[in-house]
Symmetry: C2
Subunit: 434 residues, 2 copies
């Protein structure tokens, strides 16, 4: 069936069958043009009304836009055609007729609001600049997995249905599991930690995470893609090295392999993979730098989390990807290890794009007693997590890791204004379908 020639491969002198969507029809009177579009590009089909079979002309010029057709004919050079060639049709076959009225114009001539686009993603993804985002997304995932394999990681898949959330009962979607209460997992955190104590030692996972956050913002999703890394015998600095390697690899792969997509997004001239090491600021240095700008109403003090505004002020100062290290222990989760010489300061780190946080990580608490105490300090019942904590009594190595928001990586890489642009079928407070 798919013995068609892609439009991009149609060479002058050949007779080809091309198939795809009717992108445009231009009727100039005695001559008319149909622009046919497939996944590789577009091609012009010429109808000379007086010289061609009447039925053929009728079929070609009465088909609705966005119908699926196939066209067989000779390819000739034609400098005035969009791709320099055109097809003179011998036959036109209408494979799947489209309604005359479309909810969205894939030619992009009429703008559509995001909700309309998301309701009609199939049509939306016929636009080259939308398609390009998802082709780049696929390339990023490929590159990230290769980068993890460079680092000696084994890919794992951990369960999405769980009995307890990673960080307790908040922000969890409840599910009914054969009469038992269960939840959709917020993070593979605890599972990937269990794997570093196994013979695998160093692992990664790319998979969905689910967070029942109530707020709708341009940078939150209720179902997102998490890119997770964890390694035995790594400390937080080595985990940061690994993070830098993975993020740079993603940018480099896109710069190298996605020129056409970057052009479709009008980014080809400006796109640069980060070079050099990402600066590593301590939390205290970050506070000082933010406070020195005078841009916040009130200066930040030790123990404050960074607001979106604070992140933004600091991002403008730094102007590139960077790490914030040595966070106050009190605002990091129980599984993050404190510094041995100062338990007020954790080994937790964030990796930031100038516009937002991308990664959260750190060295983990691998000592059983300290881990259980940490649960209690955060008001969690260690008993409910016994499947996790008990493995720390059987030889758990020191380890570190991080989680990277997949959609945030794409969003910041491509300058998308809404994280929903980085996912095919976003899930948010209002949107559950399609």
């Amino acid at each position: 069936m798919d013995d068609r020639t892609y439009t991009a491969d149609a060479e002058p002198g050949e007779t080809v069958t091309v198939a795809g969507w009717v992108h445009e029809l231009r009727d100039l009177g005695g001559i008319a043009f149909l622009i046919l579009r497939d996944t590789t590009g577009k091609i012009q089909v010429k109808f000379e009304k007086d010289e061609m079979d009447e039925d053929l002309v009728e079929t070609g010029l009465n088909v609705h836009r966005e119908s699926v057709i196939s066209v067989t004919g000779a390819v000739e050079e034609e400098p005035r055609a969009p791709t320099g060639v055109e097809v003179t049709p011998e036959s036109v076959d209408v494979i799947s007729e489209a309604d005359p009225e479309l909810p969205l114009d894939p030619s992009g001539k009429v703008d559509a609001e995001l909700p309309t686009r998301l309701d009609n993603r199939t049509l939306d993804l016929r636009k080259p600049e939308i398609k390009a985002v998802f082709e780049i997304r696929a390339e990023v995932l490929r590159a990230v997995r290769d980068a993890f394999r460079d680092l000696g990681c084994t890919e794992i898949n951990t369960p999405k249905i769980v009995a307890t959330g990673t960080e307790g009962g908040t922000e969890l979607f409840p599910i009914t599991y054969f009469g038992q209460e269960a939840f959709m997992n917020q993070s593979p955190q605890l599972f990937k930690q269990l794997m570093v104590g196994s013979g695998l030692e160093r692992v990664f996972e790319i998979g969905p995470i689910f967070r029942a956050e109530e707020h709708n913002t341009p940078r939150h999703l209720n179902e997102a893609t998490s890119i997770d890394f964890e390694s035995a015998f790594f400390d937080h600095t080595e985990a940061m090295d690994a993070c830098e390697h993975v993020v740079k690899s993603a940018y480099e792969a896109v710069a190298q392999n996605c020129q056409a997509q970057l052009e479709a997004l009008d980014l080809a001239d400006d796109f640069e993979a980060p070079d050099g090491e990402f600066p590593r600021l301590t939390y205290q240095e970050a506070l000082d730098e933010i406070n020195a700008t005078g841009e916040l109403d009130e200066p930040l003090v030790w123990g404050d989390d960074l607001s979106t505004e604070a992140e933004h002020v600091l991002g403008q100062e730094v102007g590139e990807h960077y790490f914030i290290t040595d966070w106050p222990s009190e605002i990091k989760p129980f599984y993050i290890k404190d510094h041995d010489d100062d338990e007020e300061v954790s080994t937790g780190f964030d990796m930031m794009h100038p516009s937002m946080e991308l990664v959260s990580g750190g060295q983990r608490e691998h000592r059983y007693d300290q881990l259980v105490a940490g649960f209690e300090q955060q008001g969690l019942d260690p008993e409910a997590f016994e499947y996790y904590t008990k493995m720390f009594r059987y030889g758990m190595p020191p380890h570190a890791g991080w989680g990277l928001g997949g959609e945030r990586l794409i969003m910041t890489m491509l300058g998308l204004e809404n994280i929903r642009e980085a996912v095919l079928f976003p899930r948010d407070r209002q949107r559950l379908s399609p």
Copy 2:
């Protein structure tokens, strides 16, 4: 932190620091051996009691098995050692002490039941033959993704939280989504079909699927990994070609890149990638072949589904991977297209390993009116699927695809007796944790 030398890389003549788990202690009186294990293998550490520092000997010989330690010392050739080398320690550091009693013996000397192993996966995965399964699983996923890219596919990720199940209300896990009823998705079927009508045209997805099947068997999971393919302008025969390519690529990659893992599983001598084309039997031929064996109590007639027993009888006859094509329309889902010249016979196919079904696929119904009629015939409300059906009015090309059970692929490839052996943390009727 991780400046250790892997045990596999310790060369005679070097002084190294190795770190890992205490695999075994053998005290022969004046001399004692500690076997240290890491992800790459094992190394012998020699303690000569009379010639070494007393504290060093005490530390090394009193540490519990499966504790995490690091050892620094000179590597020397020693033909009697398991790997031909041994380390004479200068220092031993106990990093993470294990309890003296373990719920599971990672040396494999004491057998454990599957539930105990799954409750203690961290320890279970310290066994080379268990670790090997998951290293092979990771290689299979890598190879499968590469095979899809050979075929020109774009990787997609579709939502796992959905308003309606793929095939209606049965076997769905309900979830509470901000007060609305929602479900965990059974299959990316409808979403991947929406993508072939977009500019992507040919896609794949590897991700979790969720099925609330009540029955507990050695080959069903309630959360599994689905490997999905869908292509515009493909018919069912081309979809089968793609399926064969992907499955063969997985086998070939394992044969080529996982020799050590196959040895750990005692499969190195027997493992073979399938060569030649997979036979394609029609459903009628399959019935005839099964009935001819006389092994079923009652002969199968047109319209019967194949029982596990029937699959088994046929698998023994065929003896290799094979397809069953041309199924009765009445026992295939609404989205499978019937043959144009005989609407009693569908384009649906299954791809079988001799021991079980691995793949289900077919050409899809791309004609709007027929699709909506199909919903109604299966007692489904087309209104509830309007987000899907309406895209078929805007130029949906003919298309075909399939879904492959990831765990079944691993299970049949490695001859595992229970599908739970192919997933780190299985989910079934009873098991929700870890």
